[in-house]
Symmetry: C2
């Protein structure tokens, strides 16, 4: 089976389901979009056209690869991939995955876009719960490259490989999580920062526009250029991430009442940094960082936000 031009059943024509459909169709896949809402096709076409138009000029060609179905059985005909986007409700997902398992091809990839329900929970009513896979995007999935990928503890790694290949065929960047955690990685990182931001607003340190100004003019530009771990590794100079954590991060964590970094984790950080970001090659990373940061600031200047009060 080729990873290109698959038949993909998209379950749920909400914002996420429509965005996935646009993305998959633009990337040569046949999309079978299912929703229980009567006549959903008529109000789905306009947002579909708009999202497809953000990806390609050939809107009609891509739109022609999408069909609309009110019957799950019909929607699943010939599907090699299923991407589910129903309500964030364990009961709903358990039922629909059991139904899909009973109808779909036994080799089809069964993927949920859930942002928080663990795969084992979703699979509770299935014959084989280990078939449940997570492909969690950041909204909107046709524009944001990230897809967080994981399965249950007993997932077959060959399935993960196929999921990764499928998302890569859609120009996405899949990141494998070794275990599911509530909110997965991206929302946990966002929530951790948001919690501190809300706390600072609540304490009267700064207003919400001040928070946004701070981030846009500093750490946001940095995080669009290098991730937080490489940034931390840079912060330690010649001593890398270990020095940064021991000399600076540790005291800031203490001042903020955050738990300290234990020595086992510090060893892990140092070993992984040595592998992915060797200290003797950090100059190459720094050069890319500087170019990216300058260009990201330029993007802001050329596209100003509306000015309010």
């Amino acid at each position: 089976m080729s990873e290109n031009s698959q038949t993909v059943t998209v379950i749920g024509a909400g914002t996420i389901g429509i965005a996935w459909s646009a993305l998959f169709a633009v990337n040569q896949h046949s999309v079978r979009l299912f929703d229980v809402r009567k006549g959903f096709e008529s109000d789905t076409i306009a947002p579909l056209r708009r999202m497809i138009g953000q990806l390609t000029d050939e809107v009609d060609v891509a739109l022609g690869r999408i069909s609309f179905h009110g019957s799950l059985e019909v929607a699943l005909e010939g599907a090699t991939v299923v991407q589910e986007n129903g309500p964030e409700n364990p009961g709903f997902k358990q039922n629909i995955f059991a139904e899909v398992e009973a109808i779909a091809d036994k080799d089809a990839l069964l993927i949920s876009s859930t942002s928080g329900i663990p795969p084992a929970n979703i699979g509770e009513k299935m014959q084989n719960p280990a078939r449940v896979l997570i492909g969690h995007p950041l909204n909107p999935p046709h524009l944001m490259p990230l897809v967080e990928v994981c399965g249950t503890e007993s997932v077959d790694e060959a399935l993960i490989d196929r999921v990764n290949a499928f998302y890569q065929s859609n120009a996405r960047v899949p990141v494998r999580l070794h275990k599911p955690v509530a909110g997965f990685v991206v929302n946990r990182l966002q929530m951790a920062m948001l919690r501190e931001a809300i706390h600072l607003v609540g304490e009267g340190v700064v207003d919400i526009d001040g928070i946004d100004k701070v981030v846009l003019n500093s750490v946001g530009v940095r995080l669009a250029s290098i991730g937080p771990m490489l940034a931390c590794h840079f912060g330690g100079g010649a001593g890398g991430i270990r020095e940064m954590v021991e000399k600076i991060v540790g005291s800031l964590f203490a001042a903020m009442d955050l738990p300290p970094v234990d020595s086992r984790t510090l060893d892990l950080l140092e070993a992984q940094a040595a592998k992915h970001y060797p200290l003797d090659r950090l100059g190459e990373f720094a050069a890319v960082r500087d170019r990216r940061q300058a260009a990201a600031l330029d993007v802001q200047h050329k596209n100003p936000l509306p000015q309010m009060a």
Copy 2:
């Protein structure tokens, strides 16, 4: 007194002091760089030239605006602004600010780049501790626009206005903090995210390169385009930030054992969002966000990071 072409004494020729000197000189100010290290001029010229070269082609012109001094008294001659970048050591800062106060013009702005020592602490040995101002950059200050600005509780707001005007004359974006907090805002936000990232690596959910990949392909791009508060406001759809916190953020905070958002803070968030990001104008913000995000992703693609293991 014009806010342009001031005489600025920069104390400390470390990385931050050199970067400030480059920035101030390129922006037409006369810079008097002071350090106690004998002959520091000789090994300061090369990094100064490099940083100036990142801002302008006329390196020699800007370099000509910088003089080098081993005597604090001479360095402070004619200064209307002092930017201190000594070691992050309260004793050092207390002594040098007392010295500076005794020598400098009584109207000079006395600013510390400290990333964590409260202004009242820095001023402990001064006649008038309320003169201590904070101008905290994110490294490197000649490239990152943000400067966090604050003073002691009894600071004269006219001084804050002058500090803001000075940084604006250097093409920086000053953000006024209403009270000093440990780490100020930018480091607290970074540390909150970093703590969660380190925790996830320690738990084996994902490796450090996975964390960076997640951020670069999603939230980093978002935070270079809109800040975290506007992103949260968008997340709530027609209900804005209140709906987002009540429906989604609250349950994620609970799942992560983060404290809930109290109703007083929620009211504050809603009122500030209504003022800075009115719901009926969010479409204008969304259009800029989308353009910025697409361009920021393009910047990444055109400037790939080195690929390791």
